[in-house]
Every structure is written in C-alpha cells, then in structure tokens.
C-alpha cells in the first residue's frame, strides 16, 4: 500500500483537510447571531428592568443598565405582596401539576383502551373524546361559567382542577394513541402469555415504554395550565383560588400605581417555573412538539 494509516501525522493532515472541506458557514452564523440578539431584546429589557426602582425606571431610558442590583428584591417583594402572587402561585402550581398529571394519566388509560384492547368502533370513541378539542375555548366559556356558578364549583379549587384535567385530556390522548400504537403489539401478547392482567400490561409494559411522550405531554400540559388566563380568569375570580396569571393581570390592571418595574418583575416571577422546566427538560419539550403533528 502506498499509504500508511498508522502514521499519525498523515492522519492528522487528512483530518485537517476533511475539516476544511466541511467549513461551517460563518456568514450564516453571523446572521443568526444578529437575529438572535434582536430577538432577545425583550429579554434584555426584562432583565434590566427588574433591577430598577420605579423612580429610576421613569427617569432613565428603558434600555439603560440599572445602577444597582439591589432594587430587585424590593421589586420581588412588592410584586409578591401587591399581586398576592404567593397564594396565586401555589394555586397555579397545584392546578398545573394535578391537572396535567391527572389528564395525562387518564388519557394514557383511555389510549390504552383504544389501542391495545379489542374495542369495536374504537375510532368513534376516540373521536368522541377528541371532539373536545375541535372547538375553540370560547365555546366552553359561557356554559362552564354558568354551570360552575350553578353547581357551586365556581371559585373552588376542586372545580379548577377538574376543568383543567378535562381540558388537558384530548391532546395527550391523540398523542398517546399514536405512541402506544407504535409499541409492538407482541409486547402485550408476550406479557399476557406470561400471565399479566390488562392492568399489569398497561402499567408494566405500555407506560414505561411511553415514558418520553408521557413526560413531554405532562410538560406541555403543565405549561398550558400554568400559563392559562382564560379559564382561570372566568372560573376563579376570588383571591383564595385565583391563578398566577390572573394575579399578574390584576397587578397590571389595578388602579394602584405599581411601576412598570414591579409589573415586569411579576411577569418574570410568573415565568420562572415554565422556564426552569424548559431549561432542564428541553429535550422533552422539543420532542413533545413533534408528537402533536
């Protein structure tokens, strides 16, 4: 052979040549960076603003850097107390965790029934449940408001959990129907031959194998519930049960004159859980997206 691949210098030369061959486009990178910076300007605004006092905010340009980091805590405290965000965030957290969790669990059960068991006209059953999402939310507002008022569920914690659970069921069902369908049938059959009951197959075979989608769906629905303003503003108006987004909106809309710095700080606070989840579980969020399509 005319080449000696055991010669590290030779390999090094080749490596360099290969790398040069697939040069990354620095022009594209530059454009991307510029766009990203423009895209992130609102975040810049957010981060400088939470460190300003109201007075500082009003007297300086919105883009100026804050003079000190100290006002941050004060802003947080103001937002927290004025907006009643403590209570509200506990409420929202419980709605989001329970609503998203229950919905995903129930949807998983339903998806199991639809895909893994022999059910006549399974498609019709699916459509019946899925029909719930065909309609824009506006379609539910009046009846839910009136119905909740009638049944005393309005302004109750349980009512909120129930309604969020219900709303969050159809989408996971759609997704899980696909995910479960993609799990080989033989796996259930093997388990069944080995003596597993239906529940066992569901819990020990199907759920563990759909862990990715389940987590992704939980995250997506958690984010939805946490971020929801529409339902919570209608069904939970009292301070004891209101959601973080309602609290945020109340803070922004009150007659009292909380400065933009406080309102923006409140926005930041209200975004912390979803952003933290996103940062740590990005993979699931992104893959979850694909599930829906």
């Amino acid at each position: 052979m005319a080449v000696d691949i055991s010669d590290p210098a030779f390999i090094e030369t080749l490596k360099r040549r290969e790398r040069a061959g697939q040069k990354p486009s620095y022009l594209r990178l530059a454009i991307a960076v510029v766009l990203l910076i423009a895209y992130l300007v609102p975040f810049y605004y957010l981060f400088v603003t939470v460190f300003k006092t109201t007075d500082e905010y009003l007297r300086s340009s919105v883009l100026d850097l804050p003079t000190s980091l100290a006002p941050f805590w004060d802003n947080v405290v103001q937002a927290w107390t004025l907006g009643g965000m403590g209570r509200a965030s506990i409420n929202s957290m419980s709605y989001a965790v329970l609503g998203a969790g229950l919905a995903t669990a129930l949807a998983a059960g339903a998806a199991y029934g639809l895909t893994r068991l022999k059910l006549r006209s399974a498609n019709a059953w699916f459509m019946l449940i899925f029909a719930g999402t065909l309609f824009p939310f506006q379609m539910f507002l009046v009846p839910l408001f009136f119905g909740f008022q009638r049944t005393g569920l309005i302004n109750t914690w349980a009512g909120m959990v129930l309604v969020y659970t219900a709303i969050c069921i159809p989408f996971p069902l759609l997704v899980l129907r696909g995910s479960f369908g993609a799990i080989a049938r033989e796996i259930d059959e093997a388990a069944r031959i080995e003596g597993a009951s239906e529940w066992r197959v569901f819990a020990s075979m199907i759920l563990p194998n759909a862990k990715g989608p389940l987590i992704a769906l939980f995250l997506i629905q958690f984010t939805f519930v946490w971020n929801d303003l529409l339902f919570s503003s209608i069904l939970a108006g009292s301070p004891e049960v209101r959601s973080i987004m309602v609290a945020l909106q109340a803070l922004q809309g009150t007659y009292s004159s909380t400065g933009p710095n406080v309102v923006v700080t409140a926005s930041l606070i209200s975004s912390v859980p979803t952003v933290v989840l996103f940062i740590f579980l990005r993979r699931y969020f992104m893959s979850g997206l694909q599930l829906g399509t």
């Binding site: 009003l58 408001f145 009136f146 008022q149 009638r150 309005i154 302004n155 503003s233 209608i234 108006g237 009292s238 301070p239 109340a250 809309g253 009150t254 007659y255 009292s256 004159s257 400065g259 933009p260």
Partner: protein, 389 residues
C-alpha cells in the same frame, strides 16, 4: 356561616373586614366576606346567580341604570323602612335616598358616596401665583394658563383602565348643560347633537392648548405625584391614593368644583354612589339581616370604613376621613349644587363599554376630525342600542 357578603372592591379589604365584623355582631348572623375581581366578572357572577335563582344575600352593586335593572328582577329587598329610620336619625338626607332609589323606592344602602371635584396641588397654585381656586370659567382658563406658564401641565387626564374617558366628557357636559347630560343617558339626547358638539369643542380646544397630560400614561397619578400636573378631576376617594403616595390631603392637595361655563348654567356635582343591596328572599328568611343593614348604614360603619380605607360613606354623622372630604362637604353645604349620577352608572350598562372606549379613543387622538368621528360612532352605538329596546 349564614350569609356571604360579595364585593368586588379590591384594596378595601380592611374596611370590609371591619364592616362585616360589625354587621355580624349587630345581627347575630355569621357573615363572611367574599371578594371577587375584576368587576366585569364580578357582575357576571352576580347576574348569573340571580338568573339562576340564587340571589346572593348581600352584595355591592352600582346605582343608576345598573340598580334599575337589578331591581327589575324583583329579587331585591325594599329598604324604605330603614331609610325612613336613617333620615329620621339624621344619618342621611333625602338627596342621598334619591341616589339609591328606583322610582322613589330605596333598594340599597350606601357603601360609599363620592363627589367628583378637582383635586389640585396647592404648591403649584402658589408657584403660578393663583391665590384661590377658580370661581368661574374664565378664572379657570386664566389659572390653567398661569400654571402652564409656571411649567405645569394644568390637568392630569389619564385614560388607563379603559373607563376614564368619560370623566372630562361628562364634566364638560354638565358644565354646559346638565339636563342634556341626563338626556344622553336615557336616549333622549343624541351623542352627535349640538350639546355634545359644544362639549367636544371645548375638550378639543383644551387639548390644543396643551392643558392635558399624555393620556397614554399607565400610572394614573404619576404626573400628580411628580408634580408635573397641577389639577386632577376625579372622585374624591383619589385623595386616599395620593395620600398613600405622599401627598397629604389638605396640606398639599385641595379640592374645588369645576365652575359652570356659562353663568346661567345650573351648578351641579357628579356623585358616584356605591350601593349595598340585599336579597328580598334572604331578608324574609333572616329578619336579622335588617339589623346588619342598619349597622352598615350607621355612622359607626361609616367611620370604620373611613378609618380603614379613607372612604366616605356619605353618612352625615360620620367624620370626614380626610381633609378633601370635609372640604367638599363644606363646598356642597355652601353651594348646594345639583347631584348628578355619574355617567358610568347613569348610562345603560350595555352601552357603557362601547361608548367609553370611544371617549378614550378621542383622548388618544384629540383632533377635531376624530372628535367628529367619535361623536358619530357614539351616536351610532347609542341609536342601535335604543332601537333594540
């Protein structure tokens, strides 16, 4: 717990807590407060409760047309006897009773009664060399010009919250023609007629002269607190807010009523009254509720609310919670102006939002053309509403 007292006034929690405690004590009933915001959904809640046959036992409401339609449901207790007692005791006068009556029968008791004066910055007046609050329109213009000269914007006029547009509109209407103002609210006077034209001309003119602050400002009292603006036409409860932000009523802030434009125009004042109403059924079931109502009308209740939140209940026997209220009390005692129900309550509720947003729109673009467009649109909305009745 026997009874729930619903209200939407956020920020008055302390006062309500005191009222509810007093009412519980007076009646021997276990009364619980339930705040619900924002206002539109609060109203929605009450309305659908009533439509569903479950009228809340006690709740705050609005007077004027809002009260009319509430009473029309037949679910609201007639409080004639109580009022008779109260007037007897000298707590209230007939004028107040009128504010809470529908066709002469009182159906509500006052939570608060607020008059709408102009609050002004005493230092600014001093700086502009104005010795006393203007007594006539010309003096008002002169004062405004002097304030401008001194570097102030004469009037703070924000448009936040979606409702403030009606303030100057209604004020200019009553200062030119109080009867026409009342006519607007019952459909007898059009929104594009000469009466409105005139008010809008003055309003536009004021904007042209630079009398108003930027309507886009979101912090409604910012220009007052910063001492950039000198006067603020608003309900007297704003004195409490200003006090919270460091402007002491009486010391830095004074109050006067805007003078009529023409000498012959009847002197009047806009009065905002927040009623508390009772379910007729609940009243029948629990006669003790009447004791709660009596307490809520009493000077003690008024003082409690005043002490807690600086709110004036309108009870003549209570102490004015701040200097502004006592100033206004004095002015009214002296001038005896005609009390006019605030536009917000006077106008049919279905028109409120649509019309006020037109007025807001004018404030954001205070030109002559826009004034015309706004009048045309208001009238179109007005017409279509009345046509539907």
């Amino acid at each position: 717990q026997d009874v729930t007292f619903y209200y939407d006034k956020s920020g008055w929690d302390e006062g309500f807590a005191a009222l509810i405690e007093g009412a519980s004590e007076a009646s021997g009933l276990d009364i619980a407060g339930q705040q619900q915001t924002p206002t539109d959904r609060y109203q929605a809640y009450i309305m659908s409760s009533i439509a569903g046959g479950a009228t809340p036992a006690i709740f705050t409401w609005w007077n004027g047309k809002q009260l009319d339609s509430l009473v029309e449901t037949g679910e609201i207790a007639d409080l004639t006897a109580l009022w008779d007692e109260a007037i007897e005791a000298g707590w209230f006068s007939e004028a107040e009773r009128e504010l809470f009556s529908v066709d002469g029968t009182p159906y509500a008791i006052p939570l608060n009664v607020a008059r709408w004066p102009v609050l002004y910055n005493k230092d600014a007046f001093e700086a502009a060399g104005i010795e006393q609050p203007p007594q006539s329109w010309d003096e008002l213009i002169a004062a405004a010009d002097a304030l401008k000269e001194a570097g102030y914007v004469p009037f703070n006029a924000p448009a936040v919250g979606g409702w403030m547009g009606f303030i100057w509109f209604s004020e200019l209407m009553i200062r030119t023609d109080p009867d026409a103002f009342v006519g607007l609210t019952d459909g007898s006077v059009p929104y594009d007629g000469p009466e409105v034209q005139r008010a809008m001309e003055i309003w536009t003119d004021f904007y042209e002269r630079g009398y108003f602050t930027d309507a886009r400002e979101q912090d409604e009292t910012r220009f007052m607190v910063n001492e950039e603006a000198a006067m603020y036409l608003i309900g007297e409860w704003t004195a409490g807010i200003l006090a919270n932000r460091g402007m002491e009523p009486g010391e830095q802030i004074g109050a006067f009523l805007l003078p009529p434009i023409d000498a012959e125009t009847e002197n009047s004042v806009i009065v905002e009254a927040a009623p508390i109403v009772f379910s007729a059924d609940a009243m029948e079931e629990m006669p003790a509720l009447m004791d709660a109502a009596r307490y809520l009308m009493s000077p003690e209740a008024g003082n409690a609310l005043g002490a807690a939140n600086g709110i004036y209940s309108g009870n003549l026997m209570t102490d004015a919670p701040n200097a502004i209220v006592s100033d206004v009390n004095a002015i009214i005692a002296e001038d005896a102006p005609r009390s006019i129900v605030r536009w917000w309550e006077a106008v049919p509720p279905e028109l409120q939002g649509d019309l006020v947003s037109q007025m807001n729109a004018f404030m954001l673009d205070p030109t002559e053309e826009n004034a015309q467009r706004v009048m045309d649109d208001m009238q179109a909305l007005n017409e279509s509403y009345w046509a539907f009745q």
